[in-house]
Structures are given as structure tokens and as C-alpha cells.
Symmetry: C2
Subunit: 232 residues, 2 copies
């Protein structure tokens, strides 16, 4: 294995992953702007972007597998490449969630929202920032930054519970809002998933640095006993 | 590359994947039985099973990457192994959905259901059967069977829309059911996701056989224009 050439290829891999994560962050942002403004054109752009992101994932995956097949990397390098494979899967899923949010925007076309969206864009910003930090900690191999991503997941989960409960109250007070309110519940579910996927990415970074794969965030361990403040 | 030895390893890989898919189908089944009967013990078992499934996924992944690194497979064999990597990711996500359903069962502990669950178990059976057929078409390399999985995804999606709309009506008529009804909406969203993942598996089988990766089911293309019978 020629180290220089291998390092160059790892660098190229990293560039493509930064490229992919930029597109994914843009998708999250656009999906929420489209939702807020009921912008159907922007929502459709998010779908088209999803195909671009899928293609990039396939391309990066091929590079990873070829690297493994041709360079037969050992230990740390194999771990780096297999981590990249995991991370691009999570990035692709995040893009899918953004496309799902856009699907809801299109479905709600023509409906007048029962109120202005305030909490949902805040939650979306949190989730988008988690994705940004997750990729940053991958580039810098920074496990302290990885842990902040997992702390943020708790915050995103709390917002999910809070918004769902508010929507439940809205429905109870005004049953005619039920369709909209349930659509918004799915939106916050998708945002909560984005947080989970960003946390997965951070966990893979920790794995890559330490060799140990731990679940760092509450919900990734499927611990239901603290959901929404209700102790069971 | 010694063909006999390589074929034996591919066979071993296949056995592990059949094992993993069996555990995943069991998780789907148990999560719905637990939901139906409000069986907390069974719900907790589904969580524990999720960890077993995650470990199996990691084990299979290592085998795949080692096969690529040590045997440097070309063309068809590399495609088979990379397909296996994709499929186990989808299987692991399906198990996560089952664990999420169990999380809801635990959250609803002590609540009396506003009605007996009928449509949800039917939808769950459809989804579980899709997973079963998806793995079968992988083992048999059967693209016709793969296409039936994708047809079933349309059926599962239609049930999702139908059940969500019924739950919306329940809420409107009896706002005191809102919490339960929204919990059940999340359950059917998880079942719909299981259908999507089973369809992904079938698409990867077609890719493995033909070399071409196409989206075979409606929702995997994010085509929102036919959601729930509402044309936009």
C-alpha cells in the first residue's frame, strides 16, 4: 500500500462526505422554509436534491468498497472507511426525512395554517446544527464535540415531546385543526429522527477514534421510561 | 481466490442474514402482540432483542468487509457483498421500528384503549410478510418475488392513509381520545416505515441480480401527488 496515494484517496473521500453533508443541511433548511412559507416549488426542489444526495451516497460507497478491495487496509484505516460507510447511510436517511417534510408541505398546500410556525423552525435549527457538528467532529476526529451532539439530542427530544403535547391540546380545544395538527406531529417526528441520525454519526466518530461503539444518547438506547416526563 | 472457500463464506454470510431476518420478523410480531395486549414484559423483550440484532448486524458487517479486504472480489461477488451490507442496515432499521412500537406500548401502560385494535394488526401482518418475502427473494435471487414486495408496499401505504384518517375522525368525534389516537398514528407510521425498508431490501435484490438500482415503489420515489387519494 502506497501511503501517500492512500492518504490522498482518504482525503478525496472526506471531501465528498463534506460535500454530501452540505447538501443534506441545505435540504433540512429548505424543507422547513418551504413548510413555513407553504412554498411548493422549494418543496419540490428538496425532492430533486434527494436524488442527487442518493447518487452521491452510491458514489462514495463505491469508493469505500474499492479502497477496501484494492488497498486491503488494516485496523485503523479499515475502521475509518467502514465508519464512512455508516455515516453516509445516516446522511442519506436525514435527507429522506427532509424530503418527507416536503411531502407534508405539498399535502398541506392550500390549507391556511391555524397558527404561525414558531417552535418547529427552532427545533429544525437545533437538528440542522447537530448534523453540522456531527460532520465537523468527523473531520476533526473530535470526541468532545461528538458528545455535545449527543447532549443536543436530549434537547431535540424534549422539544419533540413539548410540541406534540401542545398540538394535542390544540386538537382538544379545536377539533377542526386535527388534520393540520397531525401533519405537524409527523413533521416533528421527522425532525426528531434527524437528531437521532446526527447522534448516530457522532457515535460512529467516537467509535472511529476509540474503537468502542457506545450509545451516547438517551433515545438511541430505547429507554422509554422518561418519555415526556411520564415515569412508568 | 479459492472459489470453494469463498463460496462457503458467502453461504455462511447468507445463513447469518437468514438468522437476522428471523429475529427481525419475530420483533415485529412481538411488538404488535405486546401493543394489542398491553403486555409490558413482551415490549421490554423486544428492546432486548434489538441489541441482539444490532450485534448481529455488526458481526455480519465485519465479515463482509473482511471478505472484501481479503478476497478482493470483483464484479458480481463484490455486488453481492455490498448488497448484503445494504440489506442488514435495512433489517436493523426495521428492528428499530419494532422497538419504537414497543416504546409506545410502554408509554400507554395503564390507559384503557378506546377500541380494540383491528386494522393495526392487519397492517402489521402485511408489513411482516413483506420482510419475509424480501429475504426470501434475496436467498432465491428472485426478481419477480421482489416486485411483489413493492406491490405490497402500495397496500401498506394505503392502509397507513386509511388508518390515519380514521384516527383523525375518532379525535374529532371524541377529543378525549387525542393522546391515544396520536400514539396509534405514530405506530402506523412505524409500520409504514417497515414496509419501506422491506421494499428497499427487494430493490437491492433486483440490483444484485440485474446490476441496476431502481425505485420500484411509489413512496420510495417521494411522489406525494397521490397521497391518501388527494390529488395536488
Amino acid at each position: 500500500m502506497v501511503r501517500n496515494s492512500f492518504d490522498k484517496q482518504l482525503e478525496h473521500l472526506q471531501d465528498l462526505m463534506i460535500n454530501m453533508s452540505g447538501l443534506v443541511e441545505e435540504s433540512i433548511e429548505n424543507s422547513i422554509i418551504a413548510l413555513k412559507n407553504q412554498d411548493l416549488e422549494l418543496a419540490k426542489q428538496v425532492f430533486e436534491n434527494d436524488n442527487v444526495i442518493d447518487d452521491l451516497e452510491n458514489r462514495i460507497e463505491k469508493i469505500c468498497l474499492n479502497l477496501i478491495a484494492r488497498q486491503q487496509p488494516l485496523a485503523k484505516d479499515l475502521r475509518t472507511i467502514s465508519t464512512s460507510l455508516k455515516i453516509i447511510t445516516d446522511l442519506e436517511r436525514i435527507a429522506d426525512q427532509a424530503a418527507d417534510i416536503s411531502e407534508i408541505t405539498i399535502r398541506m398546500a392550500g390549507m391556511k395554517y391555524f397558527s404561525e410556525l414558531i417552535d418547529i423552525p427552532v427545533m429544525a435549527d437545533l437538528a440542522k446544527n447537530m448534523v453540522k457538528r456531527a460532520i465537523e467532529c468527523y473531520i476533526k476526529q473530535d470526541i468532545n464535540l461528538a458528545k455535545t451532539v449527543c447532549d443536543s439530542d436530549d434537547e431535540v427530544d424534549d422539544m419533540f415531546s413539548k410540541i406534540v403535547m401542545e398540538l394535542i391540546n390544540v386538537i382538544k380545544n379545536s377539533p377542526e385543526t386535527t388534520e393540520q395538527a397531525t401533519d405537524f406531529m409527523f413533521v416533528v417526528k421527522y425532525l426528531e429522527r434527524i437528531g437521532d441520525h446526527a447522534t448516530n454519526i457522532a457515535e460512529w466518530v467516537v467509535y472511529n477514534v476509540t474503537g468502542s461503539h457506545e450509545h451516547l444518547a438517551r433515545t438511541n438506547e430505547h429507554n422509554p421510561f422518561e418519555f415526556g416526563g411520564q415515569n412508568v
